[in-house]
Structure formats: C-alpha cells, structure tokens
C-alpha cells in the first residue's frame, strides 16, 4: 500500500452533455478525515459513488485501498462503508434486523456479537427492536453509521451524513468519526456545515465538477487571498446595500449581527471602507476570513 487510502487522478463523469465531475485528483492518506465541500450539484455525491463502484467513471485512474477502483469495485465494496445521502435502510425492519442483514451480506464473523457490540457502541441497544422507519433523523443517521461500520471497513465514505440532524446529534456523530479515525480508519465526508469542515484534517472544495481548493482549513483560507473586515454596531444593518458594488468589495454578508465585507483587492477595499470609519454606531475591524467567507467567494467567482 502506498499509505494512501484513496489515490485517484483525472476522475471524470459525464451525464449526457454535462460534465458532472471534471478531472478531479484526490489523494487521502490513511487514517485521515477529509471534508468534501461544495455547493449542491457540484459533483460530491457523483465522486463518492464512483469511488465505491456505484457509478462507472468515464475517465481517470487510481486506487481505492490499493485496489483499482475501476476494475476491482467488488473487492473495494467489501472494505468500504458507504453512507448514502438519503436514508437507505429498510424502514420496515427493526434496527437490529437491518444490522443483522448487513452483517450476513458482508459475511461478518460472529455476526450477532458484532451487532451487539456496534449497537452498544452507538447507544442503540435500547432501541434495537424499533422499526427503522419510526426513528427520528438523528437516530436514523446513527443506525446508518452503525451499519456502515459493522464489517470493519478500512474506509468510510459518508455523503452528507449530518444533513437535517440536530446539533447535539451532530456533535456526537463527529466524536464517533474522530474515535474511528484514531483507530486508523480513513474517512471522506461531504458536508455543507462549516463547523464540520473545520473538524477535518483537510478539506477539498469542488465547484461545477472541478476541484478549486484543497488543504487544511488555514491553508484554504490563506490560498484564497481574501481580506475581510467586520463592521459591528447598531446601524450596520443599513450599510450592506451601500457597500455592495463599491470598488474592492467582492462580497458583503451578515454573520449574526456583524457585517462581513470581503475582497481580493485589499488596497481598494481599505480605501472604500475608510469612508465608513468613524461613522457613529459603527466599529470597523479587520478579521481573519472565515471558511464561509472563502467558500461564498469561490462560489460567487464561478458565476
């Protein structure tokens, strides 16, 4: 093994005339947690599906767990845990029945014990007789994670696992992800949540099927070349319209009560903002751009 759990180059997928994934390179070292970000329809799900053999790639080479991802998808499936974006377990089976089914299909040894352990680990033991269809979003997601882990995969591919899940459940979920990663599991997880992106070792941002940014959170922020100023105070609400379209201002947005103003041309931005300095009820400070600033900027540039 190369020490890379995923190592693919030029990954490409077309749907008719549309390039859904356009020559993406991804190299995920074993044991890391990578965040996969990008707007809706950018190609995240398609990429994940190609990696686990659910879609045939139109182009690209490489390996997944040391196996050719184009020709050895059967062997890859046995070692990968894939969690679909939409809950895809059998709603008319109980949690336990779902897990036992999965354990049997994968030929997990000591299946019953393994199911017991997994239920225990994810706190599902008390609910094991409940039908999956009657669970709330958070519990469904927990059950799905349990099912992906049953066969001791080496790689987890999680497609927006926390969409529509409450904050507490989300945090518990991420604690579990980190615990698994500490045990040596490699995780590729797609998400729209910035706080989740910040929990990842590295993030990859794709847009219209192209990889446009990758690195650790601070690297991605640095690479963006963005300057951000924060305006705070009682009257900032009225300033956003005034600022929009001014020289040097690429993006204006509220973060809570504060107004973030970002731009690539720092000099022009400072000059524009100079006019707002000293206005009554407005405090102006430079700040580190947040990941969200960077992503919105990236998405805006593509338009």
């Amino acid at each position: 093994m190369s020490g890379l759990a995923i190592d693919v180059k030029g990954l490409t997928k077309r749907f008719g005339a549309k390039l859904a994934v356009d020559h993406i390179d991804i190299a995920v070292p074993e044991g890391q947690v990578w965040g996969f970000l990008g707007p809706n329809g950018s190609g995240k799900t398609t990429t994940i599906r190609m990696l686990c053999g659910l879609l045939n790639a139109d182009d690209g080479q490489g390996t997944c767990l040391g196996l050719d991802f184009r020709t050895q998808s059967d062997a890859i499936k046995r070692q990968v845990g894939y969690m679909t974006q939409k809950f895809s377990f059998w709603e008319d089976l109980s949690i336990r029945e779902n897990l036992e089914f999965v354990a049997r299909v994968y030929g997990v040894r000591n299946g019953r014990r393994r199911v017991d352990d997994t239920l225990e680990r994810l706190g599902l033991t008390a609910r094991q007789r409940q039908l999956a269809g009657q669970l709330s979003g958070g519990w469904k997601q927990r059950m799905a994670l349990a099912a992906c882990m049953l066969h001791d995969p080496k790689l987890l591919l999680l497609d927006e696992p926390t969409a529509g899940v409450d904050p507490k459940a989300r945090r518990d979920f991420w604690e579990e992800i980190h615990a698994l990663s500490a045990e040596g599991l490699t995780v590729l997880v797609s998400t729209h949540y910035m706080d989740e992106a910040e929990r990842c070792d590295r993030i990859v941002y794709i847009l219209n099927g192209k990889l446009v940014a990758s690195g650790s959170v601070s690297e991605v922020i640095e690479q963006s070349g963005l300057s951000t100023f924060v305006l705070e105070g009682q009257d900032v609400r009225h300033l956003s319209e005034e600022l929009r379209g001014q020289p040097g201002v690429d993006y204006v947005g509220f973060f809570g009560a504060a107004l973030h103003v970002s731009g690539h041309d720092r000099a022009a931005l400072e000059q524009t903002l100079a006019g707002f300095r000293g206005r009554p009820g407005v405090a102006l400070n430079e700040a580190q751009p947040s990941l969200e600033d960077v992503f919105i900027d990236l998405q805006g540039k593509a338009r």
């Binding site: 599906r49 686990c52 053999g53 659910l54 879609l55 045939n56 059967d74 499936k77 046995r78 990968v80 894939y82 679909t84 939409k86 809950f87 895809s88 377990f89 059998w90 709603e91 999965v102 299909v105 994968y106």
Partner: protein
C-alpha cells in the same frame, strides 16, 4: 363551493402534469389493451377446427379408404398420422400429440357390404371436453356422407335409412365430460401464474422507489445472489397455494388424481420458479410499481386466454399457438392434466418440462443482463 371546486381543479391539474411526465406508463395503458384486443380477437376460436387426429385403419377396402379421404377433407380434423396399429395411435393420444383416434376395424368394407353394421370408433381426449365437442358432432355426419358416392348399384339399398355402420365414441380420461376435471387443474396453472408473477414483480421496483436500491448495490452481493434470495422465499408461498388449490380440486370438485403426486410436486416447483423469474425480470425493467403491474397484466392475460385454459389450444391459429408455446402456463397445463387425468409419467411430461426449464434459463438470463450493477 367555488373555493372547493378550485381546490379540486388544482389537484386534477397536478395529477395531469404528473401523468404527462410518466410517458411509458401512458404508453402501456394505451398500447397493451390495443395489442391484446387484436391478439385475442384473432386467436380465440370457440369452434375449433383442424384438431389433430390419428387414423388407425385395419381394413384395406375401398369403403375404409373413402372414410379416410372424407376425414382428410374435413376442416375439423387435421390428420397427423395414419397407422394400422391402434395401440400406437392411442399412445399419441396419451402424449397429447393428437386429440382424436379414429379406428376403422378390420373387415369394415366387407361388413358393410354384408349389411353387418360394423363399428366405427372415435376416441377423444376429453381432458378438455369442450375442445372436441364440435368435431365429434361433425364426425357423425361426416362418416355417413363419406360413403354416399360408394353406395351405388348393388349397395344402393345401404344408402337408405340409418348409416350402414355404428359410430361409437369414447371420451377418454373424462368419460362424463365433467368441466371441473379440466378447469380444476387448469386453475392451478392460472392462479399460480397470477400470484407468483405478482409476488416478484415489485421485488426491485420497490427497492428503487424506497431508495434502498443504492444501499443494496453498495453491498458485495452479486445480481445472481440477489435474484435467488428474492425468488426463493416465494417458492414456499407457491407451495402453500398449490396445496390449497389441489385440496379444493380434490375434495370440492372431486377431480380425479390418478397420476403420481410426487411427480406433480416436482413439476409444480419448476413451474413456480418459472413464474417467479418472470416477475423478477419485470421488476428489473419497470421504473415504478404501476409499470410493474401493467407488465404483470400483460403476462397473465395471455396465460389465461392462449394457454388452452379458457379456450381450446388446438383450435387457435398457428401463430397464436406459437405464442402459447412461449408461455409456461401452456406447458404446465399439459403437465398437470396429463398427470392427474391421464396418469402420465415422467417420459410423457418430459417435453413440456424441458420447455419450462428452457423458459427459466432464458428469462433468468434476461433478468441478470437487465440488472444494473451501478446507478448509471
């Protein structure tokens, strides 16, 4: 009131929009009935002609030859063989290759000349009593007129009064022409087709509609494993249904069961698998449950109308018979009638059993080829 009407209209409009999006289903709803109308309209014949018959003739005389010629000219009979061995002729009846055996006894000509009124014997396969009734009626008239041209000169007296011979008809396998003897076993074939195809036609369609298909594909199960796993439990359902239907046939309709029930059970298992395979294949093709149900109807109706269940198989035009041959119900109908009413053994049912195996092979292959291993 107006507001309520507006809401009704809103829903109606939404339904129309959705219907328009699902063109395949609309196509099936229009196309299938039309096709069936034409197929069944032309195929079904309540007055079956050209029924296969064997002549066993033991008399070389001219009057016997006239009867044979008349049978050849009759539109009711299709003479498939002529022999001088009545046993061989009866074997063809047993194997279902002929529906009638017409036996002209030795010295037929001599006995007529002497005025001894010999017997002209017609034996029919009465497992489907309706199939042969018109032909039987025609036979009586036919035999009498066959000799009209021969009974001249010194024999002219024989042409007067009753025919110079007796026509004797034997209804084999079902001498009393009891309809239930035919429909009981037939219903076993038809009911099983209906319920077995229905059981599996949603097998994959449901997974697709509920979103569990992606999960199933992500698991390391092969298409063959998935197919076998989904078909197998339904064999048990089919077995339970078979026992119920056979029990009712036996104890309510008093259908005789003279053949081997073990052999029947074996053939039933093959037949059940054949129908389950059809349903499963539909489920690999259908985009939604409505389409799966349409396809099921598309399969079940011919199984009722073209298999020989509702209408005599031998009476259908040749192209319709070929369509019927492609249906498992047709073959199973022959097997089950053969075993229960004719005491057929393995050698007699083997051709139809092979057809069922061939059917399973072809349909199973289509299902496996149709099964998409990816979401492409």
């Amino acid at each position: 009131m107006i507001a309520s009407l507006r809401r009704v209209f809103a829903i109606l409009w939404k339904e129309l929009l959705q219907m328009r999006r699902d063109r395949i289903t609309i196509g099936l709803i229009v196309g299938i009935p039309l096709m069936q109308l034409f197929v069944f309209g032309f195929a079904i014949n309540l007055n079956p002609k050209n029924l296969p018959a064997v002549i066993a003739v033991a008399d070389p005389g001219p009057l016997a030859r006239s009867v044979v010629a008349a049978l050849h000219n009759s539109s009711y009979f299709q003479i498939v063989d002529q022999t001088n061995d009545p046993a061989a002729a009866r074997r063809m009846l047993q194997e279902g290759k002929a529906v009638f055996v017409i036996e002209i006894p030795p010295n037929f000509t001599r006995d007529i000349v002497r005025g001894a009124r010999p017997d002209l014997l017609i034996e029919s396969d009465a497992t489907d009593p309706a199939a042969g009734s018109y032909a039987l009626a025609a036979f009586n008239g036919l035999a009498a007129t066959a000799l009209r041209d021969d009974l001249v000169g010194p024999l002219a007296a024989r042409a007067q009064g009753p025919p110079p011979f007796n026509t004797v008809s034997h209804m084999l396998y079902n001498p009393e022409s009891i309809t239930q003897y035919n429909s009981g076993p037939g219903l076993l074939a038809v009911i099983l087709t209906m319920s077995m195809v229905l059981m599996t036609c949603l097998a994959l369609t449901r997974e697709r509609e509920r979103g569990t298909y992606e999960n199933l594909l992500a698991m390391p199960a092969t298409p063959l494993e998935i197919m076998m796993g989904k078909i197998a439990p339904n064999i048990l359902v089919g077995a339970v249904q078979s026992v119920i239907i056979l029990a009712v046939a036996r104890y309510v309709f008093h259908v005789p069961m003279i053949g081997s029930l073990t052999l029947l059970a074996g053939a039933l298992a093959v037949y059940i698998v054949a129908n389950l395979a059809v349903g499963y294949t539909f489920s690999t093709i259908a985009q939604n449950q409505l389409q799966a149900m349409q396809m099921t109807m598309f399969f079940v109706l011919p199984a009722i109308l073209l298999s020989g269940f509702a209408f005599p198989f031998m009476g259908m035009p040749v192209w319709a018979q070929w369509l019927g041959e492609a249906l498992p119900a047709t073959h199973f109908l022959r097997i089950v009638r053969g075993i229960l009413l004719k005491n057929n053994g393995l050698p007699e049912i083997l051709p139809d059993l092979w057809a069922l195996f061939l059917f399973i092979g072809v349909v199973g292959t289509i299902a496996l080829l149709r099964f998409r291993r990816t979401l492409d």
